[in-house]
């Protein structure tokens, strides 16, 4: 990676942005699919049947990961901008590794639940 971008603070910011793009692309499909609930449980089941496929489960895992990454790196921004935590010289690099680990843990739990 380019030396200008090869550090935690940058990776967290880009991770938040890229995961945000993924979620923004996914959301319209999510909302449109949920609309099939107008046809009751059968309406939803028409699409939910595909969630038994392993490929779909992997895709869902990726989406859960994107949401968790976006959440935790977003919390980082809120912490940086509205608190003085942590009180260390270069605090912009803080919360990146714990946040990333937390996101992947949630992803791991998801995988365990679906497989």
């Amino acid at each position: 990676m380019h030396p200008l971008r090869n550090h935690k603070s940058y990776i967290a910011s880009i991770g938040h942005r890229l995961s945000g793009i993924a979620l923004a692309v996914f959301l319209p499909f999510h909302f449109l699919l949920l609309g099939s609930a107008f046809n009751g449980a059968n309406g939803l089941d028409q699409f939910l049947i595909y969630t038994d496929l392993p490929q779909v489960k992997i895709a869902e895992w990726a989406l859960v990961l994107m949401l968790a990454i976006h959440l935790f790196f977003g919390i980082r921004v809120l912490l940086l901008e509205f608190t003085n935590w942590p009180d260390i010289p270069y605090r912009f690099a803080a919360w990146v590794v714990p946040g990333g680990i937390a996101a992947f843990l949630i992803g791991a739990v998801f995988l365990l639940q679906v497989f």
């Binding site: 923004a24 609309g35 449980a41 969630t51 976006h70 809120l78 998801f110």
Partner: protein, 107 residues
Amino acid sequence: MERYLFVAQRVSAMILGPLVLIHLGLILFAVRNGLSGAEILARTQGNIGWTLFYGIFVLSVTIHAPIGIRNILYEWTGISRPASNIIALLFAIFLLTAGLRSVTAIY
């Protein structure tokens, strides 16, 4: 306007934080033993709590996502500021209508 968009972005983020955590928790619980329409609707139909929850979720996302997309479009695709504003606004209108429609569908 930049100041108001910035404040809206951060306030919607603060609202979304706990909502997303709950949503993730629900996902992890609900995917056990597969997803079914009946199970989902049994939870949400006629339930004012979940309706309010997802209603607020949709409103917050309608504010939060388009403001982010607006910046990304302007910074990464080279389109003009007015064009990025229009696309973001259209995206917001879409999210609001499709989102509130979804909330209605599961009530």
